[in-house]
């Protein structure tokens, strides 16, 4: 109990505001704890199960509010305003589509492909709506975020470009990724202030190249290390002719390979988070992300072990650990006072009207 006292009681009010002068980086902090989130998680889980999933929308609101309320920047926290009913509606739609898709391919290939077309037409729209929903329902210091990208552009980045990348034998994947992020960040705003995105496609190609080189290099090293043992296994005529030692080697090989594939994702994720946030601005304010791949791998692997050993009870602790590290590696480099942001007058007007109620949240984050 003592440890919490200084944090919550007497935050130096005015000192904080002066600290936000030009150039002084403001670190993001995350005050959530695994044990507190565990309690929220387990209650959410119970209520979700006994209500056959209906409560999951309320659970999402509680979870998001918990994470937002514990994310702090320059002495203030974020807030989430999503309505559980809108989230529930979105989840029902997504579930119906997912179910229809799964059944369609069992009925016939033609039905499956027809359903694929329907999904292709709907998913960009849903992604667009959920971006609006997520940003509009997030706030900091009482000012809502917002998203102004058009539906046409959403179809371009979420449908046309992915199809082109598939046709280009994935050569366009980094470009597509860059365009998606540019679409998301360029059209986001905080109150009346716009975000902007400045990473050129070349930077994404470089990140993908580095990640592929690391991933393939590691896999090659593992293959070489186990090469002799595996060749011996093949000579012995497969598993039936092999002794327990050879089978043990094979299992070890698969485990190491899986661990590598599993730890490669954090590397990729690190490169991307740093690239994306180091090139995003809010008005004239800049962001900085200093995620380190080694630390991310360590967190991901220890989380996996913890979750498997505890049969899942470690999940909330794992989520908090990852989030805390990701958030606390970020800072905002202000170019002036953080008191000067204004709410978007137009958005304020429509927020109370019908526009906001129509929004629908689908849990698709790309």
């Amino acid at each position: 109990m003592n440890a919490e006292a200084p944090e919550t009681t007497s935050e130096p009010a005015s000192a904080d505001m002066q600290r936000a002068g030009p150039g002084q980086p403001e670190a993001f902090t995350f005050t959530g704890s695994g044990s507190e989130y565990f309690r929220i998680w387990i209650v959410n889980l119970l209520l979700t199960i006994v209500t056959l999933g209906i409560y999951s929308a309320w659970a999402k609101v509680r979870r998001t509010r918990y994470f937002y309320a514990n994310t702090r920047l320059a002495g203030s926290s974020f807030d989430y305003h999503g309505s559980p009913l809108a989230i529930l509606r979105g989840r029902i739609v997504a579930l119906l589509l997912f179910g229809a898709y799964n059944i369609a391919f069992r009925v016939s290939d033609a039905a499956g492909f027809a359903m694929l077309l329907v999904l292709g037409a709907l998913i960009p729209w849903m992604l667009w709506k959920s971006l609006q929903f997520k940003l509009y329902n997030s706030s900091y210091r009482g000012i809502r975020f917002g998203f102004g990208g058009s539906a046409g552009k959403a179809y371009f980045v979420y449908l046309v470009l992915p199809v082109l990348s598939a046709l280009s034998l994935l050569l366009l994947v980094p470009f597509t990724h860059q365009r998606i992020k540019k679409f998301q960040h360029d059209h986001s705003r905080y109150g009346a202030t716009s975000f902007s995105f400045h990473a050129a496609p070349g930077r994404f190609y470089k990140a993908y190249l580095v990640a592929s080189a690391v991933g393939l290099g590691g896999m090659l090293a593992i293959m070489l290390a186990f090469g002799g043992a595996l060749a011996g296994l093949a000579e012995a005529g497969g598993l039936r002719g092999a002794g327990p030692a050879a089978v043990g080697t094979l299992i070890l090989f698969l485990l190491v390979l899986y661990a590598w594939i599993f730890s490669f994702l954090p590397v990729f994720f690190t490169l991307l988070q740093n690239l994306i946030w180091n090139n995003t601005r809010l008005g004239e304010h800049r962001f900085e992300s200093r995620l380190r791949a080694g630390r991310m791998i360590f967190i991901a692997l220890t989380n996996l072990i913890g979750i498997v050993v505890t049969l899942g009870l470690f999940i909330p602790f794992a989520q908090v650990r990852t989030l805390k590290y990701r958030i606390e590696s970020m800072s905002l480099i202000p170019s002036g006072s953080l008191d000067a942001f204004l709410a978007d007058a137009q958005q304020q007007a429509s927020a109370t009207g019908e526009g906001a109620a129509d929004l629908l949240d689908v849990d698709l984050s790309l």
Binding site: E4, R39, V107, A318
Partner: protein, 329 residues
């Protein structure tokens, strides 16, 4: 009694924060300091209690207060009669969380053992046969391309086997329409039912059994799968378990999520086999013979496929199945 609580006020129009203090007089919250404002308590929304996060009090127009002295604020809330919701009280106490954990475990366990099989069975029987047929429509064509070849058995023999089975009575009325399909197999002796209502009988199993009574018993077992709507039931159960595992472990790793799915689904598979065995025994009995032919088919198949581990197996071990049938007699 008049508690004065330091807070920051955000007006919802700019990101500026105003140091203020909050007091409550006659069920009206009064803000003083850099901003003056009053609002009836009934119109304010207090954020849920969290251990580390600051609590907020939101006005109807979106302006809000960030409370700086949580201890004094708690005292104030107590005097105004504000109560945490049931969910929040549960989340904020270890006793509540442990109770939630125990209940979750019990609900999951009972759900897996009883509720899900019962609900999936009910849904499968309530769905029209047509739904099942539609879903399995192309399965045989798929198998024909990959695993099956046309039967090499003389047509007269095939017709005789099919006619003999058709002439048997089912243990209870309402058996679905079915068709016995003869195939040569690339995967050894086998017989299985498809959602489309086809029962595939391979030449190899007929040769292996070399005993038409046993072939009839095998067909009765497969008809049992169709009559009990096991295929639809298994599909529903598998989907539900997969969804639950994805909710629990999906964020972590899809490999980790698929392990419990497969393990848990195997129990349902073995349960379905036992039910189909019971059905076959009942069908044999209804036609005036004992379960001996079914037992012979298990013994012959076990000799062929060898003894498999009872764990990680989609079928119960043959010895157990035989024992079950004998003891039920």
């Amino acid at each position: 009694m008049h508690e004065t609580i330091p807070a920051f006020y955000f007006d919802g129009k700019s990101s500026r924060r105003f140091p203020v203090s909050l007091t409550v007089q006659d069920r009206v919250a009064v803000i003083s300091g850099e901003v003056q404002r009053a609002c009836p308590l009934a119109e304010l929304r207090v954020s849920e209690r969290l251990r580390h996060a600051q609590r907020t009090v939101t006005f109807p127009d979106g302006a809000y207060l960030e409370i700086l002295d949580p201890v004094a604020f708690d005292r104030l809330l107590a005097t105004t009669g504000h109560e945490d919701s049931f969910v929040v009280r549960m989340q904020q106490s270890w006793r509540g969380a442990l109770a939630a954990f125990a209940l979750t475990a019990v609900v999951l366990f009972l759900g897996y053992l009883y509720a899900l099989p019962a609900a999936a069975g009910f849904a499968a029987r309530a769905l029209p046969e047509q739904a099942e047929r539609m879903i399995g429509g192309e399965t045989l064509a798929f198998l024909d391309r990959r695993l099956l070849e046309p039967s090499a058995m003389p047509p007269a023999r095939r017709d005789a086997l099919a006619a003999r089975f058709k002439a048997m009575v089912t243990p209870r009325p309402g058996a679905p329409g079915y068709e016995i399909v003869f195939r040569k197999s690339r995967i050894g002796p086998n017989a299985f039912a498809l959602p489309s209502g086809q029962i595939v009988l391979t030449d190899e199993i007929v040769d292996l059994l070399n005993d038409d009574d046993a072939v009839m018993a095998v067909l009765a077992h497969e008809l049992g799968h169709l009559h009990e709507r096991h295929l639809m039931q298994r599909m529903i159960q598998g989907t539900m378990i997969g969804a639950a595992a994805t909710v629990l472990f999906g964020d972590v790793s899809s490999v980790v999520a698929s392990i419990p799915t497969i393990m848990l689904d195997l129990k349902y598979s073995r349960d379905a086999e036992r039910e189909a065995d019971d059905y076959a025994v009942a069908m044999l009995k209804a036609n005036g013979s004992g379960p001996a032919a079914l037992i012979r088919s298990f013994e012959a198949l076990e000799k062929e496929t060898g003894d498999r581990s009872p764990y990680l197996s989609s079928h119960p071990p043959a010895a157990e199945r035989i024992e079950r049938i004998r003891s039920a007699r």
